[in-house]
Amino acid sequence: MKRTSVLIVLLMLSIAAVLIGPLIGREIIPLSAFLADGSIDQVILVNIRIPRVLLAFLAGSMLALSGMSFQALFRNPLATPFTLGVSSGAALGAAVFIRFGLAFSILGISSTSFAAFGGALLAVGLVYGLTRLKGGFSTATLLLAGIAISFFFSSVILFIQYVSGISHSFRIMRWLMGSLASADYTRLLNILPFFLAGSLIISFLKRELNLMMTGEDIALSRGVNVALVKKLIFLAASLMVGGVVAVCGPIGFVGMMSPHICRMLVGADHRFLAPATFLFGGLFLVVCDTLARTVIAPAEIPVGVITALLGGPFFIWLLLNRNANTEL
């Protein structure tokens, strides 16, 4: 079974990345520091690096899974949290909360996360409504609507930044670049419910995602409740994108690249694709974040810059490679 062995390899690489990642940074910390009670190295390892690597893994997995769901739903490899405006929606929701400092928490989840989830849902709702209004649910109108909404929300964020004081403005800008630098256990707990809810919904829908890829008419004919499945996918993806964006800012391209590469590795059957995408997305962001922390140490690059630097060329390759486009 080729596909099973790919999954096992991805699992082992993920475990290795999560174990080794925390040791690498401005200085290499030996594994023994973990047990050296009271040492500075132990504090850095346990309080800073381990939560950061775990956060990177979860955030990467969530973005990748939401990208996978959108790509299946719209049967288009270019449908991602970014191109559909969902990331911008989430970012707007979070930016409003950062600007006005409306911080409170419900059951340990910060209000920013709810705002980002709300923004993501709003974006999805607008894209969906716009295409409905047009009478059809075609991929082309959907992507156009997504890009229009994405631009609109980005402009509103720019406006909020413009009218903000320098310190707010700087905070928003740094956060918009996408970074995992603020990772700690509180933020990890913040993101966890969004991860659990979103990935649980997706794991229930693997057969439906497969059928949606063959076309809505075939899915309907096989007995899929297409309207309900669409809503659940929108909900799950909004939860995951909102959860990530609130904590890490909009980190681009993970949601586009990971599912696409996994489709080349294990095929399009979501029973294999979903776990592979989950592992690959997490692994990918851990590696990118490790690079972000080390290449210009002691300074660090926002991880969003690294993923975008890798993702831009990948996006162009995807556009030029017609085969990749039609073989979703």
Binding site: N210, T214, L220, S221, R222
Partner: protein, 262 residues
């Protein structure tokens, strides 16, 4: 006369504000092979999509097995009928077996693995359509005819007793046209499955089905036995172009070709 499995009464539907079907009334009995013909834009595809539950906002009433189509859940309806769209023009990143296996969806509940009976249904469907050799091939590499076979296999695996097919032979070469028609006829006569198929080619339609329904401008222009439609005046009325009927001693019905006598 057996009880009708599909009863359509005063069906009408508008899509994007345009009336596509108006006042369609028809009955189909179990085990019938009904061909639907008509000019482009007459509403043939829309009609079978309404009967297949793909379009749900239709006016009038559609009953499947004596029960309103809207009263069925998606999965219940899928166990009764299967809509087979045109196989061309879509990307299907699955193997033939994976695709046919998806036909079992209405019989599965989430998280239950496939049972032996599901695998048997898939094996039977693949054997019946003669595509054993293509089992592990990616759908995207198949020819149009092979793809159409896989689509029919998917519908067979679904276990439905009514098949609604949209132009199953269009774009196929002659050998595959013949192969697809042979399988559809055997499904109908041997397994007693009701078939309603949109056909582009009148001769394929008249040769394979006893009953013809012709649509024109969203209304029924003809509904009767095939022998009555192979008549140039009737066909000209439907298609707005002259036809030529040529008697052929190999076939019970004359061959129909468009174009008037020189």
């Amino acid at each position: 006369m057996t009880k009708p499995v599909i009863q359509v009464e005063n069906l009408s539907i508008r899509l994007s504000g345009k009336a596509i079907l108006q006042d369609i009334t028809l009955n189909v009995s179990a085990g019938e092979y009904v061909s639907i013909i008509g000019p482009n834009g007459a509403g043939k595809t829309t009609l079978i999509k309404c009967m297949g539950g793909i379009y749900r906002d239709c006016g009038g009433s559609i009953q499947i097995g004596g029960k309103a189509i809207k009263a069925y859940s998606s999965k219940e309806l899928a166990q009764l009928l299967s809509y087979v769209p045109q196989a061309e023009g879509r990307t299907l990143p699955f193997s033939v077996e994976e695709f046919v296996m998806m036909g079992r969806y209405p019989h599965l509940s989430p998280f239950t693995p496939l049972k032996a009976e599901d695998r048997e249904a898939v094996d039977r469907a693949i054997a019946q359509t003669g595509i054993e050799a293509l089992r592990n091939q990616p759908m995207n590499t198949l020819s149009g005819g092979e793809r159409q076979m896989a689509f029919i296999a998917g519908a067979l695996a679904q276990g439905a007793r009514i098949f609604l097919l949209d132009e199953p032979t269009t774009f196929l070469d002659y050998r595959h046209q013949a192969a697809v028609m042979r399988i559809l006829k055997s499904i109908c006569s041997d397994s007693g499955i009701t078939i309603i198929a949109v056909h582009h080619d009148i001769n394929i339609a008249t040769e394979n089905s006893d009953r013809m329904i012709a649509l024109k401008d969203g209304r029924i222009a003809f509904d009767g036995i095939s022998a009555e439609i192979t008549d140039s005046a009737t066909l000209e009325e439907i298609f707005d172009t002259p036809f030529h009927c040529i008697a052929d001693n190999q076939r019970p019905l004359p061959l129909v070709i468009p174009g008037g006598a020189e």
